[in-house]
Symmetry: C2
Subunit: 343 residues, 2 copies
Amino acid sequence: MAKKTTIYDIAKELNITVSTVSRALNNISTISESTREAVLDMAKKLNYRPNKVASSLTSGKTYIIGVLLPSAQIQFFASVIHALEKYLKSFGYSILLYQTNESLESEKNGISTLLEAQVDGIIASLSLETEQDISHFEKVKEEGKPLIIFDRTHDDLQSPTVKINDEQAGYLATKHLLDKGYQRIAYITTKHKIKIFRERFEGYQRALQEAGIALKPSYALFGELNVEGGYEGAKQLLKLKDAPDAIIGGDDYVALGIIKALHEKGITPPAVGVIGFANQNFSEHIIPSLSTIDQQALQMGKECAKLFLKIIERSPSADKEIDPIILDPLLLARESTNRKTRS
Amino acid sequence: MAKKTTIYDIAKELNITVSTVSRALNNISTISESTREAVLDMAKKLNYRPNKVASSLTSGKTYIIGVLLPSAQIQFFASVIHALEKYLKSFGYSILLYQTNESLESEKNGISTLLEAQVDGIIASLSLETEQDISHFEKVKEEGKPLIIFDRTHDDLQSPTVKINDEQAGYLATKHLLDKGYQRIAYITTKHKIKIFRERFEGYQRALQEAGIALKPSYALFGELNVEGGYEGAKQLLKLKDAPDAIIGGDDYVALGIIKALHEKGITPPAVGVIGFANQNFSEHIIPSLSTIDQQALQMGKECAKLFLKIIERSPSADKEIDPIILDPLLLARESTNRKTRS
DNA sequence: CTGAAAGCGCTAACAA
DNA sequence: TTGTTAGCGCTTTCAG
């Protein structure tokens, strides 16, 4: 492969200087139209390709933004990645991806990696393990770089956030079941102390309280957030003397596990109501279709991107507080809860 | 925020030169243990963070590898991303992501973006639109950078590839249905001329031929690769006088659509057999569970990563041919095809 | 084992 | 409107 062509090559061919070339290429200030065209032509002719690494070193901007999240295999996050990349790309930004796999240590390494890569900012969602220690996130801000936290946020982290109203999500799910006439409503969620799961549970409590139904401790299960967790939890619930007539799953996978356990007992929703969270792609299509609370992943990704651009483009001095962006959860009522309402 | 500390700061504090600091930090050649420790201590004390952009500019290596694929929202690709990032991270590489959204133009822009970012190599899977024009991929090789194509490969592209044996995948699916006693087997796939879909279809043909069954043109449908496509296709097939007793879906979403259409007619698999491709996460959990051909997404991602490392680490002179890596498709026989075998 | 110095490709004052 | 000139932070010969 031949030597790469640089702006020096263009300058030499045209008998001008590199600064002129640079200005022409970046369409900066007042460049005579003629030289601009000449430069562009020559650039094309010489197969010039700008070296962003070099320009980053001088300008201090990489136009790369770091995305740190638990796992691209979780569909919610995949959707956020999708939306982020799609939107930011149109503003000239690229996405550098780092997965924590729900590990705090990995999360810390991720922040370091992204910071060393000189990203222009970081958009992150916390790992399940992250509880007290959030010093690594503080470092991002110490370096003066925008940090946006989405979905899995943290109380002690003073950063712009984008999330849905999780308390409302839990409330909606529970209220929906109540409206459908279910009375003995159980809840299977994660044992991890992540804020959003706690909030959803609070919404569940509020809905019950409003309906004047006492919270039964045996109806609240804390296990793993996956099919297996839902399956095991549901089996346990079905053994109760006073078995629930509806079960809320911490996410759609948990709900799937619940349905599986019911199926083994010869029960098909909505005979026992089942609802999940996340609106995974399969939820709509399984039989019976699964009621769920949509988390607005795509919308959330887009809002993160917009927020990032807003922050990056304002002057650093204008350091006024940024209001958290709270999206509304969306109840998707489908067959799995569609019991005939009592009259 | 205070000025960032550089190796100059460390050098000054220690009364040594930057070259020594650089050597110590990179653990290079023969550095006296004492100065190495001193440098490391001081680096920590001053909160030093290496600037990869600067080092990339001199060394010519960014330790970033570009990943170009249709969409992170397609679970197969999300899994590949997951595996790629997970594996490459342990070798110090990061992932710069670009989605083509199945558009050729976007694919071209993606290659440019990644190249400008000076990635050390590109791992890509073609968009549905990419047919004749693959000049953008040629450019990657012209720049002397490794280019690995996975899953959606292209005949004219002389690059290392990682894929599964798609012909075999199509064959396996069809053979499985035949073994289960299905005779009138239809196939709903995409209208796009992508190699892997063509190959799967060829496997379908081979299996039928082996069984001495003539290919019925009315049984081969070419539409969209999604739930809707499967639904519409199946509805059309069910109208035939000689309706099929089994339908192969071009992917699991198509299969989902097929099941939906059957459901509307009061038919539940395996009464009519249904099988898909990809083993999407929901396939195992829907009722009835969906038979499918696993594409080994995680394995594929890992093989891509390994291949990349192998290529990048060998001397550029050792330019011997790289054999394509062909993974075996995996038949996952589940309820949707589990008809009692004829005796 | 360490220092001196050049330079990676580009941007951005400051001049002209 | 264009040129001159420093760097950005680091690596990497070449000397010593």
